[in-house]
């Protein structure tokens, strides 16, 4: 698949020194505009989270007095925010592992075996990922109330599979299709069974793709909102995204903006770290589906 650095362009146009320096200038302007666009709102959340509650409405670019007050508020025992983070971690991890476990086998079948209706099956799997979350939530909410699953982890994990599995199958299929079939064929000629060829040749080769898929699935599950909001009303089970949307704080007079911003930063930080570490993989994973 395309790697972003592979296609460094030569100067597209502009002759002479003057032309190329204008060109360089517009290039830097472009980079600056994109950086400000993407980072300014996030920066504002970050800065606001470090202000004291008393000067939360300041508009200076840096806090006049740095303070961790908002973080202390966010993790105040009454909010159960720490617990919510743990819940998010549990739900997103289990969803990711289950989706990958099922997705690897489905992707292997689609990318390596010949059978009828193959593209129809892939189309069905992709189509399911377009399913509006609410169309899954309403009927399952009723089912889960009947069988007593409300306020359980599985009530969030099972519906999350409705978007996690298509995502995993699609990404893994794209990755596996890029791996040469010849190695496995050679191994099978040498007497490996299909299972051995899969386990000892394809799986190690596909490991980066599996890893990328895991990151994407995890991020999607971590960010999930409507399922967690509907299936759980017990604060000790709810996930972090739902918890922060319900932050009201101790005082009824004013929404605890500082605590909300601090909690928002905390929920986002794991994702930002993942981006910094795995940006190239994430971009490849996101774009490989659309650019086959």
């Amino acid at each position: 698949m395309t790697s972003v650095s592979a296609a460094v362009r030569t100067t597209p146009r502009g002759r002479g020194r003057w032309g190329s320096s204008v060109n360089a200038a517009t290039r830097y302007v472009g980079v600056a505009v994109i950086a400000v666009y993407c980072l300014a709102p996030f920066y504002w959340m970050l800065v606001s989270s470090f202000r004291r509650s008393s000067d939360i409405f300041e508009t200076s670019l840096l806090p006049t007095t740095w303070s961790f007050e908002s973080y202390a508020q966010a993790f105040d025992s009454s909010t159960m925010f720490g617990r919510a983070l743990l819940n998010s971690l549990i739900v997103a991890s289990i969803t990711t592992v289950l989706a990958l476990a099922l997705g690897i086998f489905a992707a292997y079948a689609i990318s390596r075996l010949n059978f009828r209706f193959k593209s129809a099956i892939l189309a069905v799997i992709i189509a399911t990922s377009m399913f509006p979350g609410i169309s899954v939530v309403v009927p399952l909410l009723r089912l889960f109330s009947d069988i007593g699953w409300i306020n359980t982890y599985q009530a969030m994990i099972v519906p999350s599979l409705s978007f996690a599995i298509p995502l995993a199958v699609w990404n893994l299929t794209t990755f596996m299709k890029q791996l040469p079939f010849e190695l496995e064929q050679a191994a099978m000629i040498d007497g490996c069974t299909k299972w051995q060829a899969f386990r000892m040749i394809l799986l190690p080769l596909a490991a980066p793709g599996v890893f990328t898929t895991a990151i994407l699935t995890f991020i999607h599950s971590w960010n999930e909102f409507i399922i967690a909001l509907s299936m759980v009303n017990n604060p000790s089970i709810q996930t972090a995204t739902v918890a922060i949307s319900k932050f009201t704080g101790a005082s009824d007079f004013q929404a605890p903006y500082g605590a909300q911003m601090a909690a928002g930063v905390v929920v986002t930080i794991p994702l930002v770290i993942m981006i910094l570490l795995f940006q190239r993989r994430i971009v490849d994973g996101l774009t490989s589906g659309a650019n086959k």
Binding site: A35, S135, Y257, M261, A290
Partner: protein, 304 residues
């Protein structure tokens, strides 16, 4: 063999997609009202009402709320996807020209994408506060997070901010598969930047762009988290179909909620169908072949 490998996936998908679909359709034919039946007994539970829930959506008691939600959903979807597309393509062009700071840009552009929508809702609610930074910058007091057109602007702003970079990424990946020689040839023939952009770049990234737009359309149609967190539920100016269905199910009107979610699903399917038929967006691609860089079948669409 294939059946064995695929069946776990399909069993789970049947449980989390097919069952809800059938069940939603079934529930949409019932109303869960407790009342007195013809003999004066208290009936508690589901009453078969046929298409009554659908009738009440389109012409009955729920109609005005439904049409409002349908209008909001469509308005948010088409306006924000149009803006995202323009901004995303512009970003892709700018990123494609940048030599230095590629890694920095790539990490930067992933930030809005990775921020959970619920957090982004909070973040923009803070930015759009009555005494927040936006009102400070424009030096006007606008109540962005209350009701009315201003709140719709707030929702669209937040939505575009979060998703334009995603389109940018997909388009950039498409651009980088265009062989440099095509531009060289165009330059030799005296084509200027705009001409190159319009006659080479756009037609060649069209497949990637169409897929990106389709994804965004279908995703925006089910918009829930953002208006819910940024403005709140039961606010008529930002109520989408998803929020409406959620609100109905929250009040235990499962029949009506199911009917709403079925209508939303049909709407999503309709848009996807029209988009794929009309513009020929190719989602699955040539299912068996992977094409090497620079020799994509998309090349056939260059000729105009």
């Amino acid at each position: 063999m294939a059946t064995l490998l695929l069946s776990p996936t399909f069993i789970v998908l049947a449980l989390v997609i097919l069952y809800p679909l059938l069940s939603a359709f079934h529930q949409s034919l019932y109303a869960s009202e407790s009342g007195l039946d013809a003999n004066g007994f208290v009936v508690d539970g589901d009453v078969f009402v046929g298409l009554h829930n659908y009738l009440s959506i389109f012409t009955g008691a729920d109609a005005s709320r439904f049409y409002n939600a349908l209008g909001n959903t469509s308005f948010f979807t088409f306006v924000s996807v149009a803006l995202e597309t323009v901004i995303g393509v512009a970003f892709a062009v700018a990123m494609n020209r940048a030599f230095k700071g590629r890694a920095f840009l790539r990490a930067t552009i992933l930030v809005p994408w990775a921020i959970p929508t619920a957090v982004s809702g909070l973040l923009w609610r803070w930015i759009f506060q009555s005494n927040g930074i936006v009102n400070d910058l424009i030096n006007h007091q606008v109540l962005w997070t209350a009701e009315g057109f201003a709140s719709q602007v707030a929702v669209i702003t937040a939505e575009v901010w979060k998703t334009a970079p995603f389109i940018g990424l997909l388009v950039l990946a498409g651009m980088q598969m265009i062989p440099e020689e095509v531009y060289e040839a165009a330059k030799l023939d005296g084509a200027g930047w705009w001409r190159q952009f319009g006659s080479i770049t756009l037609p060649l990234v069209r497949p990637a762009l169409l897929v990106a737009i389709l994804f965004r359309l279908l995703d925006a149609l089910r918009m829930f988290d953002l208006p819910f967190v940024l403005i709140g539920p039961r606010k008529s100016s930002v109520e989408t179909l998803s929020i409406l269905a959620w609100d109905e199910s929250n009040q235990l009107h499962y029949g009506a909620a199911s009917a709403f979610s079925i209508v939303l699903l049909l709407y999503v399917a309709l848009i996807a169908f029209v988009f794929i038929k009309l513009l020929g967006a190719d989602i699955i691609g040539d299912s068996s072949t992977t094409t090497p860089r620079g020799s994509r079948p998309a090349g056939k669409k260059v000729a105009r």
